[in-house]
């Protein structure tokens, strides 16, 4: 019967098949360090299939709730909607999928079919990601985590106002549920010997991150009141009564420095200054961190290098800075130059160094693991191997500081390397081809795209948010999420020509609102992928049935049509509203007796789809199409209505009766839709059952 369960076709699988054959990749997925299947999870949210969306996220982005909050979302930077009216808010959609499924039971354990054991040292982003991949592959994975819970930097370092700890726990629980063993409060070297792990396990992954903050040995650096970034952040995260001086100066311009400055404000500091070597344009922290920090009253002093900490009675009283005239030299190397004549003095109760981090390699001292002269693990970036045959390393400990999603990417590679090593016995280079992204939207296509303003997530008012560590950013509600997901243009997943069936008749060229089809030099139609918006109008008109539409192909649509053999089948835009959210299934669903076949746009509806539903035995077909001013595609013709009318005439001729097909437009609320469906049902009841069901075929 009709329900969301009929739409079980995994778009992720479809994507996998698709992407293998495609030379081009959507710009979002191409920009994503883990190449997440963004269009799939966004499209699933648009369709109200939230649980499936979350699974599609997790496939590559293993910590959806956490990354849904803190990912720096390079995907959005490349979103082609930027050239229209603003990128799709992909990160917020991801967060929504995770939040809406927060109370979902965790998944079943994956059977450990490979008969091999892997130890992962460090349960941070890299360790957890590798654990996810390897557990999914059937390996027996154990994580050794020195803290009382997994998460690493996102657990101990990232402040709660950006990432609540229960969200991290939710993400970790989902990975643990795959059958991953997690040993917390277990430090290498203290509780477990590294060499024992290397002996006892078939493979070991070192993913210990960078957990030691560095300072600068300027005069006064060892005074009381001089602090390091990570201990301050840890205090803020785990001590509800964490306190700090009234006047705090943070040294550093990276994201950690901003985390410290903004946390200090929440710990009660009245005056927080952040001083960094870089000039305003060079500040390495994400641009929105500067905006939000300033909103919170933090004073940012760019182009200042720390000179001396003034100490009174053994305690910090002030710090002076010298003007930094340059951070990088002509060769682009870090080589700051100063103008000692220009001095800035700031009175301070605390000075916090947030200038960088190193690895804590103590647990490996005296083991067979080799390190270089600077104490760094000897590591091959291509094979992710250390000097030991079965020991690999991944994440910031070997790549250096970076984003969470970059650590995740490296960990996917590490899991691939380990899987290959455990399968073949030899390690090899993990080479990930860089996909080509689709080009920019052509001007004529931009002009043809309907403007849909971006939904921003609500932020707590700055004056309010600095009072506590409450989460500063809100999430989408269901309507906002579905709307925002509906802004995705499915770049590159639209029409493809089946050249041997094309008669070069020009129908596609004439009906496309976006100017995507053209007749190629080989005298068949082809599609300009930069322009195609995947609406499917062309495919439903092509007289030679020579057009295949990526995600909205006939196979998928027919499967959905075939889910119903009675009642009403409705066709409509995937953003249509005949459905009501069902909290049990984490998906929207229709009432019994209504099979809603979602299309990218109602214009994708083919006369053949309606006939198929009728032939299957349904009593009526409802066609729901957004009015022109609501349609996310520009259309000069309401194709769904045109085709519904054509089928009505044909059904009259057939003897089934055109009144069994009703064009309904679209609805503002599910209730309105239910009402219209109810009226149609009553009309169909008067007509009696589909004549095809009545007759006994000889």
């Amino acid at each position: 019967m009709a329900s969301e369960a009929t739409n079980v076709n995994s778009q992720s699988e479809a994507f996998e098949t698709w992407i293998k054959d495609q030379p081009l990749k959507p710009p979002c997925a191409g920009a994503c360090p883990v190449n997440a299947d963004i269009q799939s999870f966004v499209s699933l949210v648009a369709q109200g299939r939230f649980k499936e969306s979350l699974e599609a996220v997790r496939e590559r982005c293993t910590l959806p709730g956490s990354l849904g909050r803190i990912c720096h979302h390079p995907c959005e930077g490349e979103c082609r909607r930027n050239d229209v009216e603003g990128a799709v808010n992909i990160r917020a959609i991801k967060r929504f999928a995770s939040d809406v499924c927060a109370d979902e039971p965790v998944s079943d354990a994956v059977p450990k079919t490979r008969g091999k054991k892997v130890a992962i040292i460090g349960g941070g982003v890299a360790g957890l990601t590798a654990a996810y991949d390897l557990a999914k592959d059937g390996f027996d994975v154990t994580i050794y985590e020195q803290n009382d819970a997994c998460g690493g930097a996102i657990y101990t370092g990232v402040p709660k106002y950006r990432l609540p700890k229960d969200v991290v726990a939710q993400d970790v629980a989902a990975i643990e549920s795959l059958g991953v063993t997690i040993k917390t409060n277990t430090a290498i070297g203290r509780d477990v010997a590294f060499d024992d792990l290397a002996k006892d396990y078939d493979a070991v992954l070192i993913a210990i991150g960078l957990t030691v903050s560095r300072g600068i040995p300027i005069p006064g650096h060892d005074a009381d009141g001089v602090l390091l970034a990570l201990p301050v952040l840890k205090e803020a995260n785990f001590n509800d009564n964490a306190a700090i001086g009234k006047r705090v100066v943070v040294i550093g311009g990276g994201n950690v420095a901003f985390d410290v400055a903004r946390s200090a404000k929440r710990m009660g500091a009245e005056e927080v200054s952040l001083c960094c070597l870089e000039c305003e344009d060079e500040i390495p922290a994400f641009s929105w961190e500067l905006v939000e920090a300033r909103e919170e009253g933090i004073i940012i002093n760019p182009s200042w290098g720390p000179r001396e900490i003034r100490v009174e009675d053994g305690k910090v009283s002030a710090i002076s800075f010298k003007r930094c005239s340059r951070v990088f030299d002509e060769k682009g190397m870090f080589n700051p130059a100063y103008d000692e004549n220009e001095i800035l003095g700031i009175e301070a109760d605390n000075v916090v160094f947030a200038i960088g981090q190193g690895a804590d390699m103590n647990g490996f001292t005296g083991t067979s693991l080799e390190v270089d002269e600077r104490g760094r693990i000897k590591w091959d970036a291509l094979t992710l191997k250390t000097n030991l045959p079965n020991v690999f390393a991944s994440g910031e400990v070997v790549t250096g500081p970076g984003s969470a999603v970059a650590a995740m990417r490296n960990a996917h590679h590490a899991a691939t390397a380990i899987e290959r090593f455990l399968t073949t016995g030899t390690a090899g280079a993990v080479v990930v081809p860089e996909p080509l992204a689709i080009g920019r939207l052509p001007r004529h296509t931009i002009d043809a795209i309907v403007r849909k303003e971006k939904n921003h997530v609500p932020m707590v008012d700055p004056a309010e948010r600095v009072k506590s560590f409450m989460e500063a950013e809100g999430g989408f509600d269901i309507d906002m999420a579905i709307y925002e997901a509906g802004r995705c243009m499915n770049c590159g997943r639209g029409a493809e020509i089946i050249a041997e069936k094309c008669a070069a008749c020009l129908t596609c060229v004439r009906v496309c609102p976006f100017g995507a089809p053209y007749i190629s030099e080989s005298r068949v139609a082809d599609f300009n992928w930069d322009s195609c918006q995947s609406c499917g109008i062309c495919a439903a008109e092509c007289p030679g049935m020579a057009i295949h539409v990526g995600f909205n192909d006939d196979t998928l649509i027919n499967e959905r049509i075939d889910a119903a053999t009675s009642g009403i089948t409705a066709f409509g835009c995937q953003l249509g509203k005949p459905e009501i959210y069902n909290p049990l299934s984490k998906a929207t669903s229709t009432p019994p007796g209504l099979n809603f076949v979602k299309l990218m746009c109602a214009s994708r509806l083919d006369m053949r789809h309606i006939l198929r539903a009728i032939e299957n035995g349904v009593d009526g077909v409802a066609v729901m199409a957004c009015p022109d001013d609501k349609c996310r595609y520009r259309k000069d013709v309401n194709w769904a209505e045109v085709r519904a009318n054509r089928v009505k005439r044909l059904l009259d001729e057939i003897g089934i009766g055109g009144e069994r097909v009703e064009f309904m437009g679209s609805f503002a609320t599910p209730e309105e839709a239910q009402q219209a469906i109810g009226a149609f049902k009553a009309k169909l009841a008067e007509l009696g059952p589909n004549p095809l069901n009545k007759v006994m075929v000889k």
Binding site: A503, P543, G544, M545, L611, E653, V697, K698
Partner: protein, 216 residues
């Protein structure tokens, strides 16, 4: 391009009334381009026929195939398993229908479309007649507008008294062919030629049973 229009389902249904297994064959050239006889039309017509028969309480098996052109034997070789069917419905133009009838001499052949005219593809789904195949082209004398096809009376010297503000007396939506000719010749600066009387055409060349032999 040859333009054809679909026959009504009733007509097709009546034609194949005596058969329970028919093959419907489309043509991938002119009639596909005019949205009447390509693969989509075959599929829709076959489905409609099947459903209509089901409503009547009698099943019918309808096979579906579309070839590149039904006016070439080589392409008709692509029609497979015709012997499994009792009859063939062709959605090609009259030429193709006769082609398939020659290809399968022992199988009853039924037309699924009415072939109408040689026309121009004005825009999506809209076609206008442009040529009658008269066998003696005089387009160079009439500004590139054919009086045989586009004047309701096929007058060689027009317009007639029925011209009405640029439209033809047969319908206000029909352009008067001779006004089109006048305007075009004016544009070309050849109105002096407009006054010359066009000699009667040899309509014998438009006669029946025509053929052409380029083999020598």
């Amino acid at each position: 391009m040859i333009v054809a229009e679909p026959k009504s389902l009733d007509e097709i249904k009546a034609m194949v009334d005596g058969y329970d297994r028919v093959l419907m064959v489309g043509c991938g050239t002119c009639v596909e381009v005019c949205l009447t006889g390509g693969e989509r039309s075959v599929n829709l017509t076959a489905t409609a026929l099947r459903l209509a028969r089901k409503v009547d309480g009698r099943d019918i098996e309808v096979g579906e195939q579309t070839v590149i052109r039904q006016c070439d034997f080589e392409y008709l070789d692509e029609v497979k398993d015709a012997d499994k069917y009792e009859a063939i419905v062709s959605l090609a133009c009259g030429v193709g229908i006769q082609g398939i009838a020659r290809k399968f001499p022992n199988t009853p052949i039924f037309p699924g479309v009415n072939t109408t005219f040689m026309g121009f593809n004005e825009e999506y789904g809209y076609y206008t007649e442009m040529c009658k195949g008269c066998g003696e082209c005089i387009l160079h004398l009439t500004g590139g507008v054919c009086p045989v096809a586009r004047c309701a009376k096929s007058l060689l010297n027009g317009p007639c008294g029925g011209t009405n503000n640029g439209k033809c007396e047969i319908g206000s939506d029909k352009d008067c062919g001779w006004v089109l000719i006048y305007n075009k010749m004016e544009q070309l600066g050849t109105l002096d030629k407009f006054k010359e009387i066009n000699a009667p055409k040899n309509y014998g060349k438009a006669g029946n049973i025509r053929s052409m032999d380029l083999r020598k």
